[in-house]
């Protein structure tokens, strides 16, 4: 398992700086303009990084190679879910760190006080996105996976405004009760676990 994680970072080596680049670009794009920049920066950075680390495995049909190694297909999927979680943490915590710094350095931007919720909400959204994305990635062919990747990135950009609007509504109506939050968290975790099993099943049956 560790070897598979190692593999992701060796394979990414030359493009690992891309994730920092995403973080910088999205920060510059969203922080001055959006009240929900802390979400957007985190989600966009994380998802772009996750797609970077998935696409790298299919660029040259590398799954053909991975399945010849002494690992099971289950492990290949498992490792990718773990890498995805690592990148989510990187994106969300990176965004949190930057906003914390921006609030100190640029008080004129009028950023609100950030709470743990500002880490948990983008994490939740990312888990949902990844839960849908991963099984599709492992079920589809190289071409299909490339299309899905593009669809997700476009969808993320289109969905940004409506989501911001929703968030405002939710915040204003104080609908974020702790009960609801707990339910949502449990639901998302279940979805994520179910997604993992679906991805393993689909990938295990797939012909390379």
């Amino acid at each position: 398992m560790l070897n598979l994680l190692r593999k992701d970072f060796i394979a990414l080596k030359s493009s690992l700086w891309m994730t920092l680049f995403y973080l910088a670009v999205f920060s510059i794009a969203f922080i001055p303009r959006s009240d929900f920049s802390i979400y957007f920066v985190g989600i966009y950075t994380a998802f772009a990084s996750v797609s970077l680390v998935t696409m790298i495995d299919i660029k040259n049909n590398n799954h053909h190679f991975l399945v010849t190694l002494p690992v099971s297909r289950k492990h290949i999927v498992q490792a990718k879910y773990i890498t995805a979680i690592l990148f989510m943490l990187f994106g969300v915590l990176g965004s949190f760190g930057i906003h914390w710094f921006v609030k100190l350095a640029f008080p004129q931007l009028n950023k609100p006080d950030y709470t743990v919720l500002d880490i948990l909400v983008p994490m939740g959204i990312l888990l949902v996105l990844t839960s849908i994305y991963m099984p599709l990635f492992y079920a589809l062919s190289k071409k299909g996976a490339g299309i899905i990747n593009a669809v997700f990135l476009i969808a993320l950009i289109i969905m940004a405004q409506p989501t911001a609007f929703m968030m405002t509504l939710l915040n204003e109506n104080h609908m974020m009760s702790s009960n609801l939050l707990f339910m949502a968290a449990a639901g998302i975790l279940l979805l994520f676990i179910a997604s993992y099993y679906v991805a393993v099943t689909l990938f295990s049956r797939k012909d390379m």
Binding site: N3, I10, S14, N60, V67, P70, R205
Partner: protein, 288 residues
Amino acid sequence: MNAIEIRNLTKAYPLFTVDDVSLDVRQGYITGLIGPNGVGKSTLIKMMLGIVRPDSGSVKILGCEMPKQEIAIKQRIGIVSDDCFYYEHLTIHDTKKLVAPFYDKWNDSKFKGYLDQFELSPKKKIGDLSKGMKIKLALAVALSHEAELLIMDEPTSGLDPVFRREMLDLLADMMQNERNSIIFSTHITTDLDRIADYITFINRGKIVFNEAKEDVLERYALIKGDMELLDSDIRKEFIGIRETAVGFEGLVDNRHKAAQLFGNHAVLETPSLEDIMYFTAKGGRVHA
């Protein structure tokens, strides 16, 4: 003892089917899997390795069940394919760093030795390697983790004749240990056949024969003669026959019987594997 045991393996595709194939690959020997293009050689090898999932049937490698004991099996086998699926943007050195930790018995100095021998620089990017160089790299990886069974899918198709000969020595080195086995597939009969002990001939998704090369070459005969010798009964004796204005050339699988039948009236020759492949694949009568 068999290195690979395949039982009733079936996989249906829209255009062709690997149909109920059973096959033993003997331990301690080199087996050549031959047949024309697109008759299921690659599919069969991919099913052995679990890269393609069979519709039904079972595969046992080195006494272990696929895919249940897949991880243990893959520790003990080396895979060389004419398609290379390493990460193109990585160097050979990075690729080694990535692959080596997966194997319990990785031998780094052996790997370095092979790179030297094959004139592969560790600094080279995979994407910049020629097809032949990629196959050399795959071979170096396969030989560096003490594989007991080498499975090669069309290994010679990208290789120049010089390295093909070198490869014979490398494979023969591996075969000095009588517990080791090699199976390779090829659609062109090459130098590799020289050292093959067993030949498995697959055509249209079915095994035509799987036996010692010497027995095959002794059993089959290529017969050349005048057209007058042929009548409909005699034509039936042939697996494939090529008739031209100047005579016929045909393949039979019972040399003894043919010798009696034709006596001194026709020329009996030992066919090459290519002859056997050609006449079997074409079947029936070929007019040229």
